[in-house]
Symmetry: D2
Subunit: 201 residues, 4 copies
């Protein structure tokens, strides 16, 4: 395979990138200055060395941010030790942090459990989660918040975790269902209306 096609093929693996956009990435790179190309190609193989996975919450963090094995958020003593929010991915963590609505700690599952999957550890960090919960219980953990997507895989994963973690003795909650911002009643499905009514306040 020639160099243009080879690079396009590699870039096509990036999430959400099709063959045509990958080709456009290649032509873009061909027109960029050496400086940009050097920065990019220096950083890509380095990224794993310059980024750690937090030993507590398993999210990725830059070593510039924290030198040890724990991320900035896990090191923050001002957060509440009472609640642990379980999210699927780093991008979910980021969305919640940006909302400024949670001051407890996080745990990144690393994925979602597909409906009917038999081997959960292949998809989510179940053993790691159990260990973290035991440690956090000593520190005062009271509630586990399952913050997963409101879709079948998210629901399946939440149901699975509720059962798996029932023996922790902790309160286990899920994010409230109801009308999200901008929703019009007339166009809402039965579940959303039913949940909005059940969760009225």
């Amino acid at each position: 395979m020639n160099a243009i096609d080879k690079l396009a093929e590699l870039l096509k693996e990036l999430p959400g990138v099709g063959p045509r956009q990958a080709k456009r990435f290649v032509y873009f790179l061909l027109m960029k200055n050496e400086n940009y190309l050097r920065e990019l190609s220096d950083l890509i193989p380095e990224i794993k060395k310059r980024v750690s996975s937090c030993q507590n919450c398993f999210r990725y963090f830059s070593k510039d941010e924290s030198n040890g094995s724990l991320c900035k958020t896990c090191l923050d003593k001002n957060r509440s030790t009472k609640s642990l929010m379980i999210v699927s991915r780093d991008t979910d963590y980021e969305a919640v942090e940006k909302s400024n609505s949670f001051d407890g700690y996080y745990f990144v599952l690393g994925g979602i459990l597909p409906v009917l999957e038999q081997d959960p550890q292949k998809f989510i960090r179940l053993n790691e989660l159990r260990k973290v919960i035991e440690e956090r219980k000593i520190a005062g953990l009271e509630e586990i918040i399952l913050a997963l997507n409101a879709n079948p895989d998210g629901d399946f994963t939440a149901d699975f975790l509720k059962k798996e973690l029932s023996n922790t003795g902790l309160k286990i909650t899920t994010l409230g269902r109801g009308l999200s911002t901008g929703t019009e009643l007339e166009y809402s499905d039965k579940d959303t209306i039913g949940n909005a009514l059940k969760n009225r306040n």
Copy 2:
């Protein structure tokens, strides 16, 4: 104006219909059989006579459905007298009824209060609502549920009604906010995440 353009102009007033679709409606009617046209033109001027506005909840109902001044739902003795759901329009009533999640009674406001509007009675049935609430209180009403759209006008109307109805001594609730079916955390706005967290259960 010629007959085609005149009919197109009338049909263009229907909600969500533009000039091009109105024209297509006219050509469609020109190709339909006399039977359809007669049924349609007989029913249109009759519709107001064959449909009543319920004296209790103010929604429209066919007289075929109920002969008196009250609609089938308001006549239903099996519903709970404890809660009254306030919706903006008949289509909202229909969406909630279809969800099978509510067994109390309804009140149709007839509109929504635009933000900063000074004369509420022009937009919503405020006086009628007060009267209905007084009557329903005698019958055991305990809670008023404001089931309005999750947008600025809906929120403004809900805030307005909460203040206006505070002297009723009743519990006043609004539909729960949170993740609606299908919502992904990563793409949710701050308010939705904040509400979903607050309303976790």
Copy 3:
């Protein structure tokens, strides 16, 4: 069926209207003044009487526009007798007239021939077309322009008509294929690029 549902069912037949929009049409009509309802219901059964189908081109026209059996366009002596444009529907005629790019006469087929259809007269005014062509030939007709949609049914109908009308001895053309306004080369399909190249000028 009750009156609201009955009217919604009739309105649901209008092109492009679903059950929910039909219901909204009913509530809209219930809130409109008597005047509007009367105008609408008077005009609907009248529309067929106040509108004729032109005996030459078969498009619909208001009798306000022309008293006889021919429409304004067919009566216009300033148009060229050399070319006849064949369109599928009245809305196509309107789009071409609005473009101010054609000064010949029209013929409205009344439909499109579905691919593989055996009985063309059921879908398009084939016999009427033949008769009109014979008459127009005497008046100097030289070219038949098949102005049909650039999709499989349009192409099938054009191919069918080319064969059917080959014995007229007239020049038969179809609309030029190529880049339509706004088209970007990069996103164009093979046929469009091939046609644009063949039809370059």
Copy 4:
């Protein structure tokens, strides 16, 4: 800036990539194996060395494909020397090649001339084009095909080049305008209908 944000910032420069997708690219790279990262980071700085810009048509080509200063297409003796197609970008060349509808040679302008721009050479390879045309004239060139997008910038560039190249004595054509595949007459703009009619055949 930390390593994650730095890499996201570099990736955000790729065409069509926003900050959120860039972040997702970073997390994707963090989870990829070393092999992929090495291949990618080895190829990026190399790409300029392994790809040449053809001295005739100025499109990019891999040196695996051709060793000299000319690309495979320019070296192909079976193509017609009579016509030269001028395209804006490499991706346009690819779209035309895939359509199998052209067997002449190409010239890649490298951009498009913005409407009202005073200094064309800053945006398109005008001097290079003149030189190539002089050489190709000796080899039998008869026609220049301006294959540009059917939008204002494309039209402006075509008009500009027609004037600039009028002294070459060559026939200069543009891609045919008309109905592109899938276009429905009813929804077409005036220009498209006018062009489709003018270019009928």
